[in-house]
Symmetry: C2
Subunit: 168 residues, 2 copies
């Protein structure tokens, strides 16, 4: 296997059996369960769900983002997001500010309480991610990220890149 890993270029032949691909698919499924398990546990103790987590995560990541932008990132309808956002605002975790330049827009920010929840959730998730990285080793991390990136839809890849650059 390490002979084959001498292959450096993507135009080399990659022989992938049906079975190997199925294993990759299953690994993705099982890993995603683990990936969401810790935050889900925390959230279920409060009155929140995975949808709240995602909203809080991306508001933290791109403070001041508009509702419309968040919609695009999450890939849900505004009605669906609105339900979640409304409870977060009512509960004082998220603040919505009318745009200064374009007053139609609402810019979203975490309050201190919101930031605290975000920290709690992402601490758990980062701990698992860190442990997985550590167990798999530094080379694996690069490969992991490369495959994930290639698996995204094109427009999601764009959004993912935008978030990375926005936070440097």
């Amino acid at each position: 296997m390490s002979d084959r890993s001498a292959a450096q270029h993507s135009d080399m032949l990659l022989f992938l059996t049906d079975e190997q691909l199925r294993q990759g698919i299953e690994a993705m499924f099982f890993a995603y369960q683990g990936f969401t398990a810790d935050p889900d546990r925390i959230l279920s103790e409060m009155a929140y769900g995975r949808a709240h987590h995602r909203a809080v995560h991306f508001i933290n990541r791109a403070p001041g983002t508009t509702v419309n932008n968040l919609l695009g990132i999450l890939g849900v309808t505004k009605q669906s997001l609105n339900r979640v956002l409304r409870t977060l605002i009512e509960d004082g975790l998220v603040q919505s500010k009318v745009g200064r330049v374009d007053k139609r827009e609402r810019h979203l920010f975490l309050t201190e309480a919101g930031a605290e929840l975000e920290r709690k959730l992402s601490d758990a998730q980062r701990a698992r991610m860190r442990a997985a990285y550590r167990e798999a080793g530094p080379e694996a991390v690069t490969g992991f990220r490369a495959v994930l990136e290639a698996m995204m839809d094109k427009d999601m890849r764009r959004k993912s890149r935008a978030l990375k650059e926005g936070s440097t």
Copy 2:
């Protein structure tokens, strides 16, 4: 086992910034969207959802499996699985046979129609997986799999392994 691979890397320092971990988390989120996009599109044209896909996938993978076993793999309640299973059986995609040795058990099999759906769904998903692997290169694939494995819960890792071995 994982102790060995952990020991192998334990002397290697892995500096992981908060930012790098967050990027990994987001990559996982976006990639999972892509991962499920193609089957979801196919399923939405029929009266089925992601839950049906998962059931069909794992019945194909482990023909004759019991409901209870499937429950453990999918990580849902039997009541939740039952609803999905019932429609699949009614529609003639899955056959349920009363156990010969233990009549409480139901053994599950895909019918020809069920196998056809499975093929259609997994063709799409495998195509994306294959493309991602090809784009990322052979080394990346190894790393990808290693990180995913490390990200699973322990019992899921067991189940994942069992499926791999069962199909050789």
